[in-house]
C-alpha cells in the first residue's frame, strides 16, 4: 500500500435535505426510518412523498433495527481518498425486518444471509450512516468460524 494516502480526507458529505434529517435521529441515538402517517409504509432512502400512496405526511418512525444481510462485498477500490486510505472496506445490502433494503457498512463478523442489527451513527463528516453488526444465532455465540473471516475489515 502506498504511503501518500490522504488520511485527513473525509467521507462524502453531500446529502439531500431529507437525508440530512437522519443526522438528528443519529444524534439522539435513535433508530428511525421515514414512515407514512397516511398508509403506514416504511421507506428508505428518504423521499419527499410516500412511495406507496404519494402522501407528504411523512414522519421519522422508530422501527426495529434488525434485518438480514442479503449480500456483502469487500471493496478493493474506491473513488474517494477517505476510503482509499482504509481499503479493503466491507459494504453490503440488508433488508430491514420492517421492509426496505439498504446499502450499509458491514462489520467483519457479518455473513451473507445472517441476521444483523443495524446502527445509525454519525461518520467523520458528521453525516448519519448505517452499519450492520452480526447477531449470533442461538447456540453459535462467539463461533470462531463466523468471527474470523480472512480479509474482512471495516
Amino acid at each position: 500500500m502506498s504511503t501518500d494516502l490522504d488520511t485527513q480526507a473525509l467521507p462524502p458529505a453531500a446529502r439531500s435535505a431529507k437525508a440530512r434529517e437522519f443526522n438528528a435521529i443519529a444524534a439522539q441515538a435513535r433508530f428511525a426510518l421515514q414512515g407514512c402517517t397516511h398508509c403506514g409504509t416504511i421507506q428508505y432512502p428518504p423521499r419527499e412523498v410516500c412511495v406507496n400512496c404519494l402522501s407528504d405526511a411523512l414522519k421519522w418512525r422508530d422501527v426495529s433495527s434488525e434485518g438480514r444481510l442479503l449480500a456483502v462485498t469487500t471493496l478493493h477500490h474506491s473513488n474517494e481518498p477517505y476510503f482509499q486510505a482504509r481499503l479493503p472496506w466491507r459494504v453490503g445490502m440488508v433488508r430491514f425486518d420492517c421492509g426496505p433494503s439498504a446499502v450499509v457498512h458491514v462489520d467483519a463478523d457479518c455473513i451473507p444471509d445472517g441476521r444483523v442489527r443495524i446502527t445509525l451513527d454519525l461518520d467523520a463528516s458528521g453525516q448519519a450512516v448505517l452499519t450492520a453488526h452480526a447477531i449470533a444465532p442461538a447456540g453459535t455465540v462467539n463461533s470462531p468460524s463466523i468471527s474470523s473471516i480472512p480479509g474482512a475489515s471495516t
Partner: protein, 391 residues
C-alpha cells in the same frame, strides 16, 4: 383490456455510425455528438437540414441538454427528445423515433449518443449520479457501480451456483469478438487465466468484469423505408420493442429485470421467438447482467444462466453469437454511447456490414438495454427485435 400494439411497418433504421472511441478526450460531449451527426449526414448522403428530428443521450453534456445542442449544432428540428436512460437509451431512442416517423411528426430522425471522458469526469458522474446514490450509496465506500454490481453478483452466485469461470467465459468470448472489431479499445486477447488472476475490485468483481470508461459516440438514422430505398441505404426492420422502468420494486435485491414483464409481448409482436435470433447484443456493463438478460429474455429458465453459459459458445462463429463486437467489456464504455453499442452492431450484422465478425446469414437479432442504477438496482430495461431489410 389490453390493446394490440401497432407494428412498425414502413419505418426502418439505417446508417449505423461510430465515432471511434478513445480512452480520454480533451473535447467536450458536444464535439463527440457533433462529430457523429456529421458522419451520419455523410453516410446517408443527405443535408443537415434533411434531419428534422433529433434524439440525444449523454451524461457529460451538462449544463446543456438536447435543446442547447440544436443551437450548438445549428439545427432546427421539428421533433426533439433527450433520453437519460443510460444503457437503455439506444433501444428507447429507436422506439420513440420510429413512432415519430410513422406518425409523420418527423421524416428523418438522427439518434445520437456520446460522451467525453476526462480523468475526473467519471468520479463526477458517479458521485452525483442520482439523489438516492448521493444519499444512500456513495457514502458507503464511494465505489460507484462496481459496489452495486458486486452485491448483485455475489447474491446471484450464491442463489444460482454461478462460478467466476462462468462470467469469465462470456468475457473471454467477447474479447475474441472484439479482436475483430476495429473500434474496440481492447486489442489484446484475454485468456481464462488472465481473467481469473486479475486483481479484485469489489469481490466477486475483478478487473475484467468491469468496463473501461472512455470517450466516444454512436448514432443511427430512423426514416421511412421508401426514403431509405431512395437513398439506396441498407436498412433494418423493427419487428418489436419493449421498455419498462422500476419493475419488481418489492424484490429485496435485484435478481430479474423489467424484461420479464414484457418478454411475451416482445416475441408475440415480432412473430418470432428467442431461438429465431441469429445473435444477441446484450447490455454488458457487468457479466452478471448478461446472465440476467439470457434468463429474462427467454433463452433459458430463471437461475439457469450458468448452465446455459456452460452449454454454449459465444463467439461470432459459436453456438450463440453474443455481443459480436466485443461489447462494452472489450470495446469500452463511452458513457451513454454504451447504450447504443448493441444497436449499431445489430444493424451492421443485419446489413452485412460487420466485416470480419459477420454472423453468417443473420436474419434476426435481439438488442437489449439496461440502465441507471439509481439506488440499488438498474431501473430501465428495453429490448428490440430487428430483422434484415432489403435495400
Amino acid at each position: 383490456m389490453s390493446r394490440t400494439r401497432r407494428d412498425y411497418a414502413g419505418v426502418v433504421a439505417t446508417v449505423p455510425t461510430t465515432l471511434p472511441y478513445v480512452r480520454f478526450s480533451p473535447h467536450s460531449a458536444h464535439w463527440w455528438l457533433g462529430g457523429v451527426l456529421r458522419e451520419l449526414i455523410v453516410g446517408a448522403g443527405i443535408a443537415k437540414t434533411d434531419i428534422d428530428g433529433l434524439c440525444v443521450s449523454s451524461f457529460t453534456l451538462a449544463p446543456d441538454t438536447a435543446v442547447a445542442l440544436t443551437q450548438h449544432l445549428g439545427m432546427s428540428p421539428r421533433w426533439l427528445d433527450h433520453i437519460p436512460m443510460g444503457g437503455a437509451s439506444g433501444v428507447v431512442a429507436l422506439r420513440r423515433a420510429a413512432r415519430a416517423v410513422q406518425a409523420g411528426d418527423a421524416d428523418v430522425v438522427a439518434c445520437i449518443a456520446g460522451d467525453t471522458n476526462q480523468p475526473d469526469s467519471f468520479r463526477d458522474t458517479i458521485s452525483a449520479f442520482s439523489r438516492f446514490a448521493q444519499d444512500a450509496v456513495y457514502p458507503y465506500g464511494a465505489a460507484g457501480p462496481n459496489a452495486s454490481f458486486a452485491l448483485l453478483t455475489a447474491h446471484y452466485m450464491r442463489r444460482t451456483g454461478a462460478m467466476r469461470e462462468d462470467f469469465g467465459k462470456l468475457c473471454v468470448a467477447q474479447r475474441d469478438n472484439a479482436l475483430r472489431y476495429p473500434h474496440a479499445l481492447m486489442k489484446k486477447p484475454l485468456s481464462m487465466d488472465d481473467y481469473m488472476q486479475a486483481r479484485p475490485i469489489a469481490d466477486p468483481i475483478h478487473l475484467f468484469d468491469c468496463v473501461m470508461p472512455c470517450a466516444g459516440a454512436d448514432g443511427y438514422l430512423v426514416m421511412t423505408e421508401d426514403r431509405a430505398r431512395d437513398l439506396k441505404l441498407p436498412f433494418v426492420r423493427i419487428l418489436s420493442t419493449i421498455e419498462r422502468h422500476n419493475a419488481w420494486s418489492n424484490d429485496p435485491i435485484q435478481m430479474r429485470g423489467g424484461w420479464t414483464v414484457d418478454v411475451d409481448e416482445l416475441y408475440g409482436m415480432a412473430g418470432v421467438g428467442p431461438w429465431d435470433m441469429d445473435f444477441v447484443q446484450a447490455y454488458d456493463d457487468y457479466p452478471v447482467i448478461n446472465m440476467m438478460q439470457l434468463e429474462d429474455l427467454g433463452f433459458c429458465g430463471k437461475g439457469d444462466g450458468p448452465d446455459f453459459v456452460r452449454a454454449n459458445t459465444f463467439t461470432v462463429d459459436g453456438s450463440f453469437p453474443f455481443n459480436t463486437n466485443g461489447g462494452q467489456l472489450s470495446v469500452g464504455q463511452a458513457g451513454a454511447a454504451g447504450g447504443y453499442l448493441g444497436i449499431v452492431e445489430a444493424m451492421r450484422q443485419l446489413t452485412g456490414a460487420a466485416e470480419g465478425r459477420q454472423v453468417a446469414d443473420a436474419e434476426h437479432g435481439l438488442v437489449s438495454g439496461f440502465g441507471m442504477i439509481n439506488y440499488d438496482r438498474g431501473l430501465c430495461t428495453a429490448a428490440a427485435v430487428l430483422a434484415r431489410g432489403q435495400a
